[in-house]
Assembly symmetry: C2
Homo-oligomer: 232 residues x 2
DNA sequence: TCACTGTTGTTAGAAGTTCTAACACAAGTT
DNA sequence: AACTTGTGTTAGAACTTCTAACAACAGTGA
């Protein structure tokens, strides 16, 4: 037997350290995560934690990895729970799960989508986990009737991206819809969690839902006739 | 005469410090901005800079303020330069100026829209400057034909927001279009500058332009028939 | 010209941080 | 029982922000 007890103890220690790190993240932001302070709160001295994490960056890396996993699990669960519903309702389910995850732990959302460490390149497994969230979204989009559009550069890139991860059967139009849906949802969420709507007196939840409905119904006719394609 | 020479010297020193800080920001990220290191590169000792900035946060504050001003100046200039063009072309001009500013100095974009300092609340003047960018966008949207939609909560908030800064004559439908246009553009830019598209092999410029065109032409018909409002 | 005031710089130092090195001890294996 | 491995310790280097005390300077007024 190969150290099963020590192995478990090691995992528990790492988990506790990450738990405290998340608390610090919520309270003081990413800059407030201190290996020393975590150790102190665990009742050990600072250098002890270096047996578990190669350094601060390694710890942050783990937090990022965990967050991607957690986000993917959340939206996947939501999508699966809505498996019997209509595509619009499934998109709504995805969007609500996504927003819910983000706003209940904004610091974690910012850990994923906020300011990256310069020179940081996510490892392959983290990238794959991040794409799980994207796949969940693609999964609820209707695939039928997707015209094979002209071979644009963007389409080619989208197909290449999907193909590289075993989703080669998704038509480029669906991929584009998915990616754009994601960027739009993120656009609202990103501004919300970084507090940009606060001083504007606007409820981001309403804006978010308006965006979701516009995503579902299309852009014209939902709200107002103010179209940018007016005469001119 | 009240120290006009000293005053100028003081301004020059602050400007140089901020210039070096921006270099550090670009190279090492926000965490890499060090008062000590800036001072060293200016040929003075660390504490000398505390005559000019109350602390590191004060310096960062100035960087944020400058960035908002610079962004607003840029998009305003672009919008004014396109004053004779059609609304769609003016929206394109705004969007291109916005993206150009962001991608040529991603670290600065992240300084504005990335991870905020916890507990940080932007001072009023910074908020007003931030809204200048939003106003530039609203300025190129056509106002005619904006139906007075039902008095929704979101509309009321939008009108309140606009009214609080002397833009009470802009119809809520236009305000909503503007805010949503902004969140969409930001959605793409945010993911681009934080490097999310890198491992996907997708050119963010194409995605951005697709989003701009969809903003202008509306969502249906631009690309593919994959609509979320299918039967179901 | 001399003295005064305010600004800008210095060094010293406190209290943090990350992280390495060297050592002590306990736990698991042979 | 001896050996190896894992986990914790203290000491310390090299940083960081930031304050305090002091020195030197510029500009003003008598």
């Amino acid at each position: 037997m190969v150290n099963v007890r020590r192995e478990r103890y090691r995992e528990e220690t790492k988990t506790e350290a990450k738990r405290i790190a998340l608390e610090q993240l919520a309270e003081l932001g990413i800059a407030g995560i201190s290996v020393n302070a975590i150790a102190k709160r665990m009742g050990v001295t600072g250098p002890a934690l270096y047996r578990y994490f190669k350094g601060r960056d390694d710890l942050l890396n783990d937090l990022v990895r965990d967050a991607w996993h957690d986000l993917a699990d959340t939206v996947e669960a939501s999508v699966e729970a809505s498996s019997g519903a209509s595509p619009p309702d499934r998109v709504r389910a995805f969007a609500e799960a996504f927003r819910s995850w983000a706003v209940t732990q904004p610091h974690r959302y910012l850990l994923l989508f906020g300011t990256p460490l310069p020179g940081y390149h996510a490892p392959q497994d983290t990238i794959l986990t991040a794409h799980r969230t994207m796949s969940a979204l693609l999964g609820v989009l209707p695939h039928e009737g997707s015209a094979t559009t002209g071979p644009s550069t963007l389409d080619a890139q989208l197909v290449g991206w999907a193909g590289a991860r075993g989703e080669g059967d998704v038509p480029p139009a669906v991929l584009l819809t998915g990616v754009r849906a994601f960027t739009r949802l993120h656009g609202v969420l990103s501004l919300e969690v970084s507090g940009q709507f606060g001083p504007m007196g606007i409820d981001p939840a309403l804006l978010y839902r308006a965006e979701v409905e516009s995503l579902i119904l299309g852009d014209s006719g939902v709200r107002g006739s103010t179209r940018l394609s007016g005469p001119g």
